[in-house]
Subunit: 157 residues, 2 copies
């Protein structure tokens, strides 16, 4: 379910029990020129810079930098899992790119709660492990990301 509108003050720890799955309300289109510009700034490797260079690369075709895919995924996560005041991402436990993102692909995400527990060091907050899967328009996964976010507890007031 995607019910950001039902939580005007954002999601709390209690809103993310193990097994809950959120879906992004929209998809993001990976524009060819933006892909190339991102790569020129951050990941200037042949597969990401031009069709001609990519044809000679391991990938054989122009595809997005994994960091561009990760950043586009962050945008969808930020819109889907709006964390209440006092929340933040703590880090990434794993990130994989099982297939390339091609020009014109449109990406959406699902966010599944894998684990949730109260913080030992910060009373009133909890740590939630989420698995974010990024799908292309063919419903095939292009990125699998496991990360941990700290979320405030509603019960802490």
């Amino acid at each position: 379910m995607t019910d950001a509108t039902a939580k005007p003050d954002g999601f709390y720890f209690e809103d993310m029990p193990v097994g809950r799955v959120l879906h992004s309300a929209r998809s993001i289109s990976m524009d060819r020129d933006r892909m190339i510009a991102f790569a020129a700034e951050f990941d200037p490797q042949p597969a990401h810079l031009s069709e001609a260079q990519a044809a000679e690369s391991q990938f054989g075709q122009l595809c997005a930098s994994g960091w561009h895919t990760g950043s586009a995924t962050m945008r969808l996560v930020a819109e889907t899992l709006v964390i209440a005041r006092g929340g933040m991402g703590l880090g990434v436990e794993a990130m994989r790119w099982p297939r390339p993102v091609l020009p014109g692909d449109t990406l959406r995400v699902t966010i599944a709660v894998l684990a949730a527990r109260p913080s030992r060091s910060q009373p009133g907050r909890g740590l939630v492990t989420i698995r974010t899967t990024t799908f292309n328009q063919h419903d095939l996964p292009v990125q699998e990301l496991t990360s941990v976010v700290m979320m405030p507890m509603r019960s802490a007031g």
Copy 2:
């Protein structure tokens, strides 16, 4: 050692024994306006969008999106560890941001080889686990990244 110039055809598996450490030849400056523009596109959360919004956030001050730091790190890695034809990143095993990246910080990286073994599925290639630490101008770590890259073996010709 940073000896990309000594390897005009890029690094091979054999060039990355366990314990080797590479250092980026330069640093990247994290410009305030670029930080905000990156966040507006990919990570529109209060701590990354303006000084005023950040002051009210968990961080208390404007800081870069972790994905911006990760992408800037990728740029330095791409310049430092130029992999010979047939190489590619396979994924991330862990990424953490121990302290914020602030406007005007300059980032550099070290890349340390944690493990190296021949690929079981792809003869003539090897898998190298690297730990990339991103430091600010105070020599304090702002990102710790463990990832795996596939590299061709020189001996495979």
